[in-house]
Each structure stands twice: as structure tokens, then as C-alpha cells.
């Protein structure tokens, strides 16, 4: 513990221009668009520009999306990222069945991102951090999924194809981060952009709809920034010019459960 690891990504394209022209072009455009919306709209109700170009070609492995979380900046008592994720993905629309106990429902309701508070057993130092799917490069959840419903998109996002998920929960057994939730109850209320329903497993998908409509951050990142903490950075791990790469270069970061060599796409500094 306490050992820091340099980010090791063997797949980084050496030349940033490797990324397809469409990709880089849109990214540039979206950077502007997102900046504008973020500036004018209240947190969490980010409106998406209709003019954003939806993706028309399949994602490629030229990019790998990831997050960097600076635990030093994550503050006690804040839950902006969690709330934002809930709103973004319609998780706030879940409601407890009348006859279920609150305690049991807390164990059963879907959680994509959670706040964890740690204390170092030796130093007594307390650390706060958000924990979500780590978007492993070698995801155990994908390895075990019998139908291939758990899959890793070419751009590094690990998600569940809920059309083929049979709800066996083997992926949940396999995930070392307890990142996944099973939908225990019929969903009556969902958002058009995030379909979700009973009997399948889900987890953070790095706001995949935002990816495909060309925005360049996630709901949690936006929220943290809006809350003034900027503890989370989102970006392309393969692009040496991206802010996440720059941050990674600047600070020591590590993966949770490094011993499993999963090469996670979500990195933490300060733990």
C-alpha cells in the first residue's frame, strides 16, 4: 500500500493524429458546445445540443476513455457526482416497493457510483473517493459472462448489452469492485436515453450516450466541476494531448486492486 504506479498503457497511439479525422474534428467542436451549455445550465439538467452530430461509424480502439480521480480534492460530505449520475441515468426514478424494508431496499437498489470513505489503518488519514465501474482493460465481468452480454466496447467502455443479458449475476460475482447492480424490481419510469429494466445487470457506462452524441465529459465530471471541486477528470487515455493524460503525468496515481492486473480505466491519486 502506498506504492504508486506509473500509468502503463501499451496501446497508446504514438501519433495523436492517428485518431480518425471525424473523431478529432467532432471532439474539437464538442469541446466548444459542451463548454457553452455547462456555463448556462444549472447542474444536472445539462441540455444537449440538438445539433450535436450523432456517431455514424462504429467506435474504434483508437481511443480509450477513462477517468482520473484526485482523492485529495474529493471532499467529505459532497455527493454531487453521485446525484448527477442518478439524474443522468434515471436512477433517481427508482422507488422502494411499499412492502420492502428500507434496509433491504438499500441493498437492492441500483447504484452506479458511490461515495466511499476510507481510513488508513496506520496513519488514520481519512480519504474520500467516488467508486464506480473501473472499466477494466481485462474485465473479469466480461470474461465470465456466459452470453457475452457484458462486453467491452472498442473505446474501452465496459457495459452490458441488456438485450442479451439473462440476469445470471455471474458478472457481479466476478467484479472485484462491486461495481454492478442488478435491477431487482420492474422499472416504470425510465429516460429515453437510458433504457433500463428488471432482471438485468447494469453499471456505470461512462455515460455512453454522451459519448455517442459527441459530448466530452460525463455527468459526474460535470457535476464535480460545477460543485467547484474538480476531483474527476475524464478523457482519452490514448491521447497524449488529453487533459487526463496530462494530469496523469503530473500526479502519482494507482489502480484499486492493482494486484489483479486488470489495468483499469479509472485511476485514483492520493490513496
Amino acid at each position: 500500500m502506498g506504492k504508486t504506479t506509473e500509468m502503463k498503457d501499451h496501446h497508446e497511439p504514438t501519433d495523436p493524429t492517428d485518431a480518425g479525422p471525424a473523431d478529432s474534428g467532432r471532439r474539437a467542436f464538442m469541446g466548444v458546445a459542451a463548454g457553452i451549455t455547462a456555463a448556462v445550465v444549472a447542474p444536472g439538467v445539462v441540455l444537449h445540443s440538438v445539433t450535436a452530430a450523432p456517431r455514424s461509424e462504429a467506435v474504434t480502439s483508437d481511443v480509450r476513455w477513462g477517468l482520473l480521480i484526485d482523492t485529495a480534492k474529493c471532499v467529505d460530505g459532497c455527493s454531487a457526482c453521485v446525484d448527477a449520475c442518478d439524474r443522468e441515468n434515471g436512477l433517481n426514478l427508482q422507488n422502494k416497493p411499499a412492502s420492502a424494508s428500507q434496509e433491504h431496499w438499500d441493498d437492492q437498489k441500483a447504484v452506479w457510483i458511490r461515495k466511499v470513505q476510507l481510513q488508513d489503518n496506520q496513519t488514520g488519514r481519512v480519504t474520500n473517493l467516488p467508486l464506480m465501474c473501473q472499466h477494466c482493460e481485462h474485465p473479469p465481468c466480461v470474461d465470465v459472462c456466459p452470453t457475452g452480454a457484458s462486453f467491452k466496447r472498442a473505446d474501452g467502455i465496459v457495459m452490458v448489452d441488456r438485450h442479451t443479458c439473462i440476469g445470471c449475476r455471474y458478472c457481479m460475482m466476478a467484479c472485484p469492485y462491486k461495481a454492478r447492480s442488478f435491477i431487482h424490481k420492474a422499472v416504470e419510469d425510465q429516460l429515453t436515453r437510458v433504457p433500463r429494466g428488471k432482471g438485468c445487470v447494469e453499471s456505470c457506462n461512462l455515460c455512453v450516450h454522451r459519448r455517442d452524441f459527441g459530448e466530452d465529459s460525463t455527468a459526474c465530471v460535470d457535476a464535480c466541476r460545477e460543485a467547484g471541486h474538480e476531483a474527476i477528470v475524464f478523457g482519452d487515455l490514448k491521447d497524449p494531448e488529453s487533459s487526463i493524460r496530462k494530469h496523469l503525468a503530473e500526479m502519482a496515481s494507482r489502480q484499486i486492486r492493482e494486484d489483479l492486473s486488470l489495468n483499469t480505466g479509472v485511476r485514483y491519486s492520493g490513496i
Binding site: 444537449h48 456517431r55 461509424e57 466496447r153 473505446d155 429515453t192 436515453r193 433504457p195
Partner: protein, 137 residues
């Protein structure tokens, strides 16, 4: 044999939906009647695995265009037995589970984005809306 179109069979397009004010679906009606399930299933895989969101066969698009709003402009869940998808599937005894997960009314920000491509393909203005009473016809 001459192909008899199901032209004078009853239509399921409802007054009060955008579709009612439009000429044609994302594919010719004949094709839609026979093959819509394949089209959207294909689209589904493209979207989920490839992230492609710009094609006209999106389910969100179907909902957006075919959803019927009542007189108070409240959209009615499309899979209900008397609505567009629901009525037809009730007639053919097909149990859809799509709407276990998919929103059965356009909901939340970004709903329009998802149907954008479909409208573009048909060349329709997404603002069209047939009045529930069908008077604009």
C-alpha cells in the same frame, strides 16, 4: 402472382401522432409492416456495440414519431393496448418486452437527439404534430 398491397387494411397510425401528419415511415409501409422488427433489432446491435446513433431505425425514433398525445398534449405510452405498437401487437398476440426497459413515452433530455436521424431521413420537420382530433388532415 400480383402483389396485393395491404393498402386497404386498417392502419395503426394514430391521429395525434407526428406520423399521422407525415407521408411515409422510415421505410415504405409495406416493408415496415413486414420487417420493422428486424430493422430495429439490427439497429439495436449497431447502437449498443458500435455506438452508432445516426441511423433512422432507432427505437427512440419510432416512439417519438408514433407516440400519440391526447388532447392535453400528454403523450400516451406507446405499448398500451390501444396505442400504436400495443394495438398491433395485441392484434397479432405478440408480447413485446422492449418497453420493460425502453421509455414508452419520450422522456428526459436527449430524447429528441435520439430521433433526430429518423426525422432527417424521412425529411420531416420534427415539429409536425397531428392534432388528436385529426382535424389538420
Amino acid at each position: 402472382a400480383q402483389v396485393v398491397l395491404a393498402a386497404d387494411a386498417k392502419t395503426y397510425v394514430l391521429e395525434g401522432s407526428k406520423a399521422a401528419a407525415l407521408e411515409s415511415c422510415v421505410e415504405p409501409t409495406d416493408v415496415m409492416r413486414r420487417k420493422h422488427m428486424e430493422l430495429i433489432k439490427h439497429q439495436r446491435d449497431e447502437t449498443v456495440h458500435g455506438g452508432i446513433r445516426s441511423s433512422k431505425h432507432s427505437l427512440a425514433g419510432c416512439v417519438e414519431c408514433h407516440i400519440r398525445s391526447d388532447a392535453d398534449h400528454v403523450p400516451q405510452p406507446i405499448h398500451r393496448k390501444d396505442e400504436f405498437c400495443g394495438a398491433c401487437h395485441a392484434f397479432t398476440a405478440v408480447n413485446l418486452n422492449c418497453f420493460d426497459c425502453h421509455a414508452s413515452v419520450p422522456k428526459g433530455p436527449g430524447a429528441e437527439q435520439a430521433s433526430h436521424a429518423a426525422f432527417q431521413a424521412v425529411g420531416a420537420d420534427r415539429s409536425v404534430q397531428a392534432r388528436p382530433d385529426g382535424e389538420d388532415h
